[in-house]
């Protein structure tokens, strides 16, 4: 993979923080500000969710966010275009489109990749497209230097885990525990051995996700993984801030509160990591405007 953003991602030694946010929740402008805040707060990549009527892999928090966005008729195209706007405004970390397969299918693969490339997308995660069904899409991604993000679960059997891990791009998404997205107090009993195993097999960084809602929860996995994904906790925070986002005089305070919240989620990291990200902004914007990723 020649995608420079993924190279940078994969060359890190830090314990990577990858947040999930629902695109256009609550609206396009706020989403951009949220993305920038996430990046500023230490995000090494951003998962950008697309609202769907039937989000099978998601818990109530993300379901509600979906519903909110659907009330505003937010489509996959809208979210792809949002990604482009994020790039223009300075988001330089890898951006992964998190979409259910049916949305992609309806848009059409060709049109999807056309828009994805134009808007600086670096990866695609389709939660309901398991390994067996994903060969075609993965190839299309690779053809465009995008990562098709694969998932493995504590129940994924040895053989299969090996196969998936060895074929993973971007990072390997390790599901921390059974169930849907959402904060939880406990993880699968075998989660650490599972992660260790995944690390052994994987060519790419191994990230743990599902249910992580604090830096201390994340740090449990620091030894057996290369980073962590936080989804519902962030979406829930955004939900809590909705009333303030919608009032002009409150927005700034709300963004500040959101940044503070993100800081709490991220274990202390060396200062320069953040600077590094900021440095690249200008290049990235250029790349995006040219309609292709670097």
């Amino acid at each position: 993979m020649n995608n420079s953003r993924w190279k940078r991602f994969s060359n890190k030694n830090s314990f990577r923080f990858v947040p999930y946010m629902m695109g256009c929740d609550p609206d396009r402008e706020t989403s951009i500000e949220i993305a920038l805040a996430l990046q500023e707060g230490g995000a090494e990549a951003i998962e950008l969710g697309v609202p769907y009527s039937d989000p099978l892999a998601d818990g109530p928090v993300i379901q509600r966010a979906s519903q909110r966005c659907l009330e505003n008729d937010v489509s996959l195209t809208d979210v792809l275009e949002l990604a482009g706007a994020m790039r223009e405004r300075g988001v330089s970390v890898p951006v992964i489109i998190f979409t259910y397969y049916n949305l992609l299918l309806q848009l059409g693969e060709n049109r999807f990749f056309e828009l994805a490339e134009k808007n600086g997308i670096d990866g695609v995660l389709v939660p309901d497209l398991p390994f067996e069904e994903s060969a075609g899409l993965k190839k299309s991604c690779r053809d465009r230097d995008m990562a098709f993000i694969s998932l493995v679960a504590p129940t994924t059997r040895e053989e299969r885990l090996k196969e998936i891990a060895q074929d993973a791009d971007g990072f390997l998404y390790c599901i921390s525990s059974m169930g849907v997205t959402g904060k939880r107090a406990a993880f699968a009993g075998n989660v650490k051995s599972f992660l260790a195993n995944a690390q052994e097999q994987s060519r790419v960084p191994v990230l743990v996700g599902f249910g992580i809602s604090s830096s201390s929860q994340a740090m449990q996995f620091a030894g057996v993984s290369d980073g962590y994904i936080v989804g519902s906790a962030i979406v829930e925070k955004i939900e809590a801030l909705l009333p303030r986002f919608s009032q002009e005089q409150e927005r700034e305070g709300a963004i500040r509160e959101f940044k503070y919240f993100i800081n709490q989620l991220v274990p202390a990291q060396p200062e320069k990591e953040c600077n590094h990200a900021a440095e690249n902004t200008a290049d990235d914007i250029k790349a995006v405007s040219a309609g292709k990723t670097d």
Binding site: N102, D128, V180
Partner: protein
């Protein structure tokens, strides 16, 4: 390729089917596939299933010659395959018994199920009670409100009814929620799906446990005459009664007709005509035809009959539609309700509104045949559950 040999390794019927599910359930699907493959070849299991169908659920169900209906139709002799006479009142129990016994064979102690109007929920709770399984049924909050009686029945049967508050709070969302719950509890829980839908191997399993309908029909027809029927008709919601009825006939040349819910008309937005109005898409883990927006958001369908009110359809039906082997027609609410009334007053059989769709089609088509020809309708269920709806419709009320 003979349909007999479908689905393929990936659970596909042509381009339909497959497993579009989170990685978290893939191991459970693999376990289920293995468990089902074993069970299917186990004659002891088969005998237990058949014994329960006969000594518990009352099979074989009769094939009734409908003299009065035949007169009304003015053409082909009409026969009714009486799934309404099953224990709990519909074909749903065939599948519930089969899957529950499979759960037991696989060492599971708990089952979960989704339900819309409550028919499959009652069937699943029934089988769970009979075989000593713990049972939780996911049901949209909206449906819980509308189907108070079935909710009570499930509780009486010892099942827990779990209200679903997500999405439109109906069957589609209950199914999502059941799958989500299955992801959570996959290790000790069996997901007992209610129609020929869902990820592979579910469509195949449901067909396997419903094909008794067609098999009995085939042998009952042979007892009457050597002649093939001119048409076999079944209503299609998810497609379980239809696939069960069609199963042994698919590789013959007998015309098969699936009847979908045309609701207020397929040109209005209010229908559940997945074949006519649906497009290729993924729902509940399976590639099939479904009602969706241009953007791929799934549309809540409409039908006066709760059991046909499903935005997707079993993948094998999508395949049979595409291949042209089965004709799919639709019938409006009004036509179905009229047919229900006709069947009731001509034959003394109050069928489910779902089944009345098949009857309505038969009544429309009968005159295309001569009196020496035969049509067979799968009468999938009885209409006791629908009396409230019928009353409120007659009183000029709307659909609940």
């Amino acid at each position: 390729m003979k349909t007999e040999q479908l689905p393929d390794n990936l659970g596909r019927y042509g381009r339909y089917g497959g497993k579009y599910v989170p990685e978290t359930v893939m191991s459970a699907l693999a376990e289920l596939e293995a468990g089902f493959s074993e069970a299917k070849e186990d004659s002891e299991f088969l005998n237990l299933y058949l014994k329960e169908l006969s000594s518990y659920s009352g099979r074989p169900t009769p094939l009734t010659f409908a003299e009065g209906l035949t007169k009304k139709g003015g053409g082909a002799k009409i026969f009714l395959k009486r799934e309404d006479l099953n224990h709990t009142g519909a074909h749903k129990i065939n599948n519930a018994i089969g899957q529950a016994l499979l759960a037991v064979r696989m060492g599971k102690k708990k089952i979960i199920a989704e339900t819309g109007a409550g028919q499959h929920g009652v069937a699943a709770a029934t089988a769970a009670a009979r075989y000593g399984l713990e049972c939780r049924v996911f049901m949209g909050e909206e449906d819980i409100r509308r189907q108070e009686l079935n909710v009570f029945r499930m509780k009486l049967l010892g099942a827990e009814v779990v209200p679903v508050y997500s999405g439109s709070r109906t069957l589609k969302d209950a199914t999502n929620e059941a799958i989500r719950e299955w992801v959570r509890t996959v290790e000790d829980t069996f997901y007992l799906i209610g129609s020929a839908v869902g990820p592979h191997p579910y469509p195949q399993i449901v067909k396997h446990f419903q094909k008794i309908i067609g098999e009995e029909t085939s042998s009952q027809l042979k007892d009457i005459t050597d002649q093939d029927p001119s048409c076999i008709i079944a209503c299609v919601g998810g497609g379980s009664n239809a696939i069960g009825m069609f199963a042994p006939f698919i590789d013959s040349s007998i015309p098969l007709v699936g009847v979908e819910a045309g609701g207020k008309g397929t040109s209005t937005g209010f229908h559940a005509a997945t074949m006519e109005k649906g497009t290729l898409g993924v729902i509940h883990g399976s590639m099939t035809r479904l009602l969706q927006t241009e953007n791929g958001q799934i549309i809540e369908p409409y039908s006066v009959s709760a059991g046909l009110d499903y935005p997707g359809v079993g993948p094998e039906h999508a395949y049979l539609y595409e291949s042209g082997r089965v004709a799919y027609e639709s019938v409006t609410d009004e036509e179905a309700l009229d047919a229900l009334q006709t069947l009731c007053s001509e034959e003394g059989i109050l069928c489910a509104i779902e089944s009345a769709h098949a009857v309505a089609y038969a009544l429309k088509a009968a005159s295309k045949y001569t009196e020496n020809e035969m049509m067979v309708i799968c009468l999938s269920g009885r209409g006791d559950k629908d009396v409230h709806t019928l009353i409120s419709r007659r009183e000029g009320g709307s659909d609940e």
